[in-house]
């Protein structure tokens, strides 16, 4: 399940006029911020600083046992960049992120268009089903998926084997790397489509009937209507959704870790999150792991900058 930063209760929009009357200098706002700032400094500020510093240090097992850790400049980064394994995992993560996000968007948009076109009762049936999937905690998602694809008694293998000429009973889906990531992608897509579908649907309901009617009178066909009228209007929504999907599909540590736990495991199945985990917690190479984590941090910031800018704009407007 993906709860989000996006739920910015919109009631603020109506009450513009932010405290113009309170321009005189006051210490009160700073006092109000103290608990939040302290929390952020301790829980995030200190760790991130530690991480940046240690990404420039030699910090392996020897340092764990008391040897002083020395600054070694960019050596950790150089080691990462010259490591074929790191590149392989980084590219795999980016490919996984992009592909999963695009597939999720495509299915989500298709669902939203379908929801707009069908009778209310069937729309509600679909919405309820999607809410159930959306609400499932990640651990429960993965556990259930593991049961669905169980090699002996899993219902997936049973149903697929009903197809003439297919016999998959006893097939383990988590052994082949491609199949492993395919399973992860299907589960993540299944869980993320509802958010996209609901959001796009909400966007579609805001497209005014008059505009559509006018376009219809001007002779626009079904697909022209979609491509030339509807899509441009809901484009801002689509852009934000795509950004959010990219951000979320980059942080799939829990899903991959759980699939590794349930399946055969091993680094052939790593994405960046599990790779850093293995490097740091597993092998005790905290310097190298910190450098890899900083790379993920930068990648995330690059992907999310567009979304951040939008939220800042929203803050200015309110």
């Amino acid at each position: 399940m993906t709860t989000t930063a996006t739920a910015t209760g919109s009631p603020g929009a109506a009450a513009g006029r932010p405290a113009k009357t309170r321009k005189r200098r006051s210490r009160l706002p700073y006092v109000l911020l103290i608990p939040a700032i302290v929390t952020l400094l301790v829980g995030l500020g200190y760790p991130v600083t530690w991480q940046i510093i240690n990404s420039f240090k030699e910090y392996g097992l020897a340092q764990q046992f008391g040897q002083p850790s020395e600054f070694i400049g960019f050596a950790n980064y150089v080691a990462l960049f010259t490591d074929a394994v790191f590149w392989q995992i980084a590219l795999r993560s980016v490919a996984f992120m992009a592909l999963t996000a695009l597939i999720t968007m495509a299915i989500g948009i298709a669902f939203a268009l379908l929801m707009k076109a069908i009778p209310t009762w069937s729309r509600i049936v679909l919405q309820v089903a999607m809410l159930l999937a959306w609400a499932m905690p990640i651990v429960a998602q993965m556990t259930v998926a593991n049961w669905l694809i169980d090699d002996r008694n899993g219902v997936l293998n049973y149903l697929l084997s009903l197809i003439p000429g297919v016999d998959l009973v006893g097939h383990n889906w988590l052994i082949e790397p491609l199949s492993f990531f395919g399973v992860a992608m299907v589960i993540i897509t299944w869980a993320s489509v509802p958010f996209v579908a609901f959001s796009v649907y909400a966007g579609l309901t805001q497209v005014s009937e008059e505009v559509l009617e006018a376009a219809g009178l001007d002779g626009a066909g079904r697909f022209q209507l979609l491509r030339l009228v509807i899509m441009p209007i809901i484009r801002p929504v689509l852009v934000i959704l795509l950004l959010l999907q990219l951000i979320w599909d980059l942080r799939v540590f829990a899903q991959i870790q759980l699939l590794q736990d349930f399946g055969a495991g091993g680094e052939r199945y790593d994405l960046l999150g599990t790779y850093i985990y293995g490097l740091g917690i597993g092998q005790g190479q905290f310097g190298a792991a910190s450098a890899a984590a900083i790379m993920v941090l930068l990648l995330t910031l690059a992907v999310s900058s567009g979304y951040v800018r939008r939220l800042l704009k929203e803050d200015k407007e309110s």
């Binding site: 009450a15 999937a133 985990y277």
Partner: protein, 278 residues
């Protein structure tokens, strides 16, 4: 093509998709009511007729489950109470005041929400280890608070801004102090916002797996998600008791699904509301 037939076909397609999307959840519930004998048959049983509650009895009688439930409750309550308190104060500051440093704080609040656990858990692990707070409620709560306070603040900001300043000013003219006006006038009007953002924070903390799996390594300190992972794994070693594992999944998922339904309307609407108009 006839629009009527098209609509009917669309409805049929929607029902098929609904079945596909709900199926894993249904299958979880279905299996949780079955005996090992039924589950291990080569032909799956699609309806839990003549089902059993024995899986639930086993899980609820598992001491590890009870311990994990307790741990999850304690961590969630601690985080929720502190998170709401901190976030109300912070959202008041950014929604009601313009001050030097405000922009920097808002930027931080937004940026921090984008950071994946992957990018920070090594450092957070080392930090807690250095002060002996691994496997402790305090340790995990510190990290969780930093995780939920930003988005709760951001969400409440919208609600605080939604309460007209005039109301507070009127109360101040009548003799309230600034904080008194907030406490008596704005705070009660924030109730829906507090419920919504509280549920969001609850969901995040209750479901959190990645950090917990790194910080809470002792069996006795596991939260519910960790318990479920371990429960599914230990049974993997021998013959998997899928009935019990699914009963465990149901128990972990039910409170989440219930609370999720409360806030689901806001989830999509909040994002889109501004985007199309603005």
């Amino acid at each position: 093509m006839n629009p009527k037939i098209l609509r009917a076909g669309g409805a049929a397609l929607a029902v098929v998709l609904a079945v596909v999307w709900a199926f894993p959840v249904y299958w979880m519930v279905n299996t949780s009511f079955q005996t090992p004998g039924t589950i291990n048959r080569l032909t799956p049983t699609f309806l839990p007729t003549g089902g059993t509650l024995s899986n639930y009895r086993e899980v609820l009688g598992d001491n590890n489950f009870i311990a994990a439930l307790g741990m999850s409750l304690v961590v969630t309550v601690v985080c929720l109470v502190l998170c709401i308190a901190y976030a109300v104060l912070a959202s008041l500051a950014i929604a009601r005041f313009r001050f030097r440093g405000r922009a920097a704080f808002v930027l931080t609040v937004i940026l921090v929400q984008m950071l994946p656990a992957e990018a920070m858990f090594i450092a957070q692990y080392k930090m807690l280890a250095s002060v002996n707070l691994l496997n402790s409620v305090i340790g995990v709560s510190i990290i969780y608070l930093a995780m939920v306070v930003p988005f709760t603040t951001w969400m409440l900001r919208g609600f605080v801004a939604g309460v007209p300043v005039d109301l507070e000013e009127a109360a101040m003219i009548d003799g309230c102090t600034r904080l008194g006006a907030f406490r008596r006038i704005t705070f009660p009007l924030l109730a829906p916002g507090l419920v919504a953002s509280g549920v969001f924070a609850f969901l995040q903390v209750w479901n959190e797996f990645a950090l917990a799996s790194i910080i809470l390594t002792e069996n006795q300190k596991a939260t519910l998600p960790l318990w479920l992972r371990d429960f599914a794994q230990t049974s993997n070693l021998g013959v998997t008791e899928w009935g019990q594992v699914m009963a465990g999944s149901v128990l972990v998922a039910i409170p989440v699904i219930v609370f999720f339904m409360i806030v689901q309307g806001r989830m999509a609407q909040g994002l889109v509301g501004g985007a199309v108009k603005g």
